[in-house]
């Protein structure tokens, strides 16, 4: 099949209607008015989403409303439009959602248009995170598509004078099952008519056995634009009169601006200096000249009052963390301790990690009268709409946020500081303004994965069964903090609110937030490292110990699938070459990963040679897309295992670019093997994050297998490995 002519976000016809000339009028339009203007077609309204639970830590009101808020449209030309508040940042939802629609409606994939992340056109959505797009938006959309198909069949039945059950659908047409040449296309059925359907009941959807698109490996529909440079990101938006901003920045977090002498910068031809409170910027129609002018601004700042650094942060975190949430409590810890013949107690630590998306945070804002238009690299366009409305003192419906392609997010683009800056500057300047953070700004204003501490105590009985699990984490968050093992006496406590830091107490010296598999990466590092230590105390092989302590048959199956593919057994003694295993249940997706590493003991350097990942995410919509996500998780995950950490002191962030902040490069690439474990009876689960969450643990465990020392802190840098070898930590 030819790649789809995909028109993400901003459709050509919509451009014609609302493009640069008539843009201000566009924001006044209600979504449904837009649909009326959009001409004939069959529109199915449906309620999409996961109700009020779940999103963003379960804040009520952040989920989808219950009324039919979403829709898809079969146009008079037979093209099908999917309108979704989700955005595309590389995770491939643009393709998987289109596949689900194409499948259920029996139209070629090339006839699906995706409109994503446009607050004027798309249904409300809390944001694209948590591996939730397919899991929660997909199924109701699929039902809406089934309903649309049902309506078209009814129409064809009347048109052809044939009972509905004698009809079938294929390639965007309804045909007579026993005489396929007798057919009528969806486009012909709709003609110029306007048909609106509200999805009330849940129509039956196709059984998986009948699928011809969904479940088949499919190339990305945004491929052509991305290999030709045509794909537009927020920084590629050009508006008439637009100025680029270069903003005065403090040397440290917590350092307040005292004064800014802009006299020299003002002399640069074409430069405009804008001040809006503490926001001081040089604007110019060329971004590099704005930056040159910025360099001429002499700004003075108060010193930061932060006294924290990489060494003192952990004691601070424990000191300020109070009032834990009880994530799970079963049995009785004292009882478990009595049953235990051995107890093992250890602490684990994780440093701050940056998202470092390829595209830094970028936004373009145009304010005209009482309307604002925003183009932003964001994972949360509707949240941005609210923020910009507050910033500019406008009602939210007067703010339209469009989301072009996003160049990676990983949780970091839930926060939209750059959008607010662009809005303030655009308002102050009376011109459209683009704010594109430099890499240094990106490393300074990122919402880092929080540093955290984990205290773990486990107990074993004489038979090698885990009978006690006492787990406390400080500021990591609760996700994936529950052990997947069958343990009679266990308690898991989470101190502090997790991704964003805790309540009224200032925990972190800078912004923190969700980082791909938030909470889970480091909770699983602590948990699955500790399981290995416990296995060693039991005198058992790490894999056999896990299988013996699991009750969950699905988890056993996935662990065995990884082990079968890996095909190696653990060494009896350290040889410099080692294997590791780690497993998890990430929000319903099961992952088991095994890895092979080589450790150079002199340098402390780890080379990951091979990673096998088995994953069960229920029904798989796009096996190719799922593999891409798993491979990406493994490759990206090597960074937080081995090198990535933010070095900081007294509010300063020392890592400012990719020279010192080391992300995985081509030479790091291990052999990757992915096993998709078939489980079509389970509804589709998320795939964007699960496989990255086990990486810390699997590499730590493999390092231990290789050199006999245990790493208790992420990342496991050469210096830390050399130190551990010196100390002989086991």
């Amino acid at each position: 099949m030819k790649p789809s002519k995909i028109r993400p976000r901003i459709k050509d016809d919509e451009y014609a209607m609302f493009g640069p000339g008539g843009a201000a009028a566009a924001t006044a339009l209600e979504r449904r008015e837009f649909l009326k203007l959009a001409g004939g077609g069959l529109v199915v309204f449906f309620a999409a989403g996961e109700g009020l639970e779940g999103q963003a830590g379960g804040q009520r009101g952040q989920g989808y409303p219950d009324d039919p808020n979403a829709y898809l449209k079969v146009g008079a030309d037979g093209r099908v439009t999917c309108l979704t508040g989700k955005i595309e940042m590389g995770q491939g939802t643009i393709t998987a959602l289109a596949m689900m629609l194409a499948e259920e409606l029996d139209v070629p994939l090339a006839l699906i248009d995706m409109v994503m992340g446009d607050t004027a056109l798309c249904p409300y959505d809390a944001g694209t995170f948590g591996s939730r797009s397919i899991k929660y938006f997909g199924p109701p959309m699929r039902q809406a598509a089934a309903e649309a198909r049902g309506v078209l069949v009814r129409m064809a039945s009347a048109r052809l004078g044939t009972p509905e059950d004698a009809l079938a659908t294929k390639d965007g047409a309804v045909y007579l099952a026993r005489s396929p040449s007798k057919k009528v296309s969806y486009a012909d059925l709709i003609g110029g008519k306007r048909i609106e359907v509200r999805l009330e009941k849940k129509p039956a959807i196709k059984p998986i056995s009948k699928h011809t698109v969904s479940g088949k490996p499919t190339l990305r529909i945004d491929a052509r634009e991305k290999v030709t440079g045509e794909a537009k990101f927020a920084g590629d938006i050009r508006l008439p009169g637009m100025l680029y901003a270069a903003i005065v920045r403090p040397p440290a977090h917590g350092a307040e601006l005292k004064s800014a002498d802009t006299a020299a910068a003002e002399k640069v031809p074409g430069v405009r200096i804008v001040r809006d409170g503490d926001l001081v910027a040089a604007l110019h129609e060329k971004p590099d000249i704005a930056a040159q002018a910025l360099a001429l601004i002499e700004a003075e700042f108060e010193p930061s009052d932060s006294k924290l650094d990489n060494a003192t942060i952990f004691a601070h975190i424990k000191e300020v963390s109070a009032n834990p949430d009880v994530v799970v409590e079963t049995g009785n810890l004292d009882e478990g301790a009595k049953l235990a013949t051995k107890t093992i107690e250890r602490s684990y630590f994780a440093q701050y990690v940056a998202h470092a998306p390829s595209e830094p945070h970028t936004a373009v804002v145009r304010v005209e009268g009482d309307k604002a238009e925003v183009w932003a690299s964001t994972q949360s366009p509707f949240r941005a709409q609210q923020e910009i409305a507050r910033t500019l003192g406008l009602p939210p419906e007067s703010v339209r946020v469009r989301t072009p392609f996003v160049g990676g997010g990983f949780g970091g683009k839930n926060a939209g500081g750059q959008i607010v800056e662009a809005a303030r500057l655009a308002k102050a300047a009376g011109k459209p303004v683009q704010v594109a953070w430099t890499r240094k700004e990106e490393f300074f204003y990122d919402t880092f994965r929080p540093a955290a501490v984990y205290d773990v105590r486990s107990g074993l009985d004489a038979a090698g069964k885990i009978v006690l699990w006492d787990y406390r984490n400080y500021q990591a968050g609760s996700r994936s903090s529950q052990p997947v093992y069958d343990i009679p006496h266990k308690r898991v406590l989470a101190y502090g609110g997790g991704f964003g830091g805790g309540g009224s107490v200032r925990v972190h010296p800078f912004g923190t937030g969700a980082w791909r598999g938030p909470g889970s990466n480091t909770n699983i590092f602590a948990t699955e490292s500790h399981i290995d230590i416990t296995a060693e105390a039991a005198g058992m092989d790490p894999l056999a110990f896990r299988l013996a302590n699991l009750a969950d048959a699905r988890m056993k199956r996935i662990a065995q699938a990884a082990a079968d593919k890996f095909g190696r057994t653990f060494a009896k003694a350290p040889t410099g070459h080692g294997y590791g295993v780690a497993i998890t249940d990430y929000l319903g997706t099961y992952v088991a990963t095994m890895a092979e590493v080589e450790v150079d003991k002199t340098r402390g350097a780890v080379r990951v040679l091979r990673v096998v990942c088995a994953q069960d995410s229920g029904e798989v919509i796009n096996p190719e897309g799922t593999r891409m996500q798993i491979e990406g998780c493994i490759t990206m995950g090597l960074g937080y295992c081995l090198s990535e950490e933010i070095r900081f002191a007294n509010g300063r962030v020392f890592d400012e670019n990719y020279d010192s902040y080391t992300v995985p490069r081509m030479s790091w690439l291990p052999k990757l093997e992915v096993v998709l474990v078939d489980n079509p009876d389970l509804a589709p689960q998320g795939v964007g994050e699960p496989a990255i969450t086990v990486m810390g643990a699997v590499i730590a465990n493999a390092i231990h297998d290789a050199i006999g020392v245990r790493m208790f802190m992420l990342p496991m840098t050469p210096a830390r490995i050399r130190e551990a070898l010196k100390q002989g930590t086991g």
Partner: protein
Amino acid sequence: MERTVRFKLNGKEVAVETAPERMLLWVLRADLAHTGTKYGCGEGYCGFCTVLVDGRPERSCQFPLAKAEGKSVMTIEGLAKGGRLHPLQQAFVDHGAFQCGYCTPGMILVAYALLLRKPDPTEAEIADALEGNICRCGTYARVIAAVRQGSRAMTTKAADKVADHEAL
């Protein structure tokens, strides 16, 4: 001091009236509306802004416009011909060798320069050539597979090869 700087951009003569010490990246993006070339780090570490100057990969964020004077600059926009993807681009499509796509223009151009110089590189040579190009989404394995396919396609299609050289 502003002056007119002339060079060939994707086979066409262009003249830019600007300060010649400005970096090529910003001239391409802001003055010439060639936004396929991406900013990534501003210091040459990431490779997103790579363009070819007389067939050699250069970091356009570190490459003053003056150095491009009289030379042939190729950006990602110059690779497809007449709406038809270059075999290397097609290989990136076929292997799904990208996710967010932000690093892709630089990745493809470095690979393209490698294949012009060395039509049948080993995996190690591909990895070595692309070591300076970060992909945060972690698609390196697919990029290597794509470059190998692109290599086979380029070496078997003589016509394309000629066209490739003409573009420079």
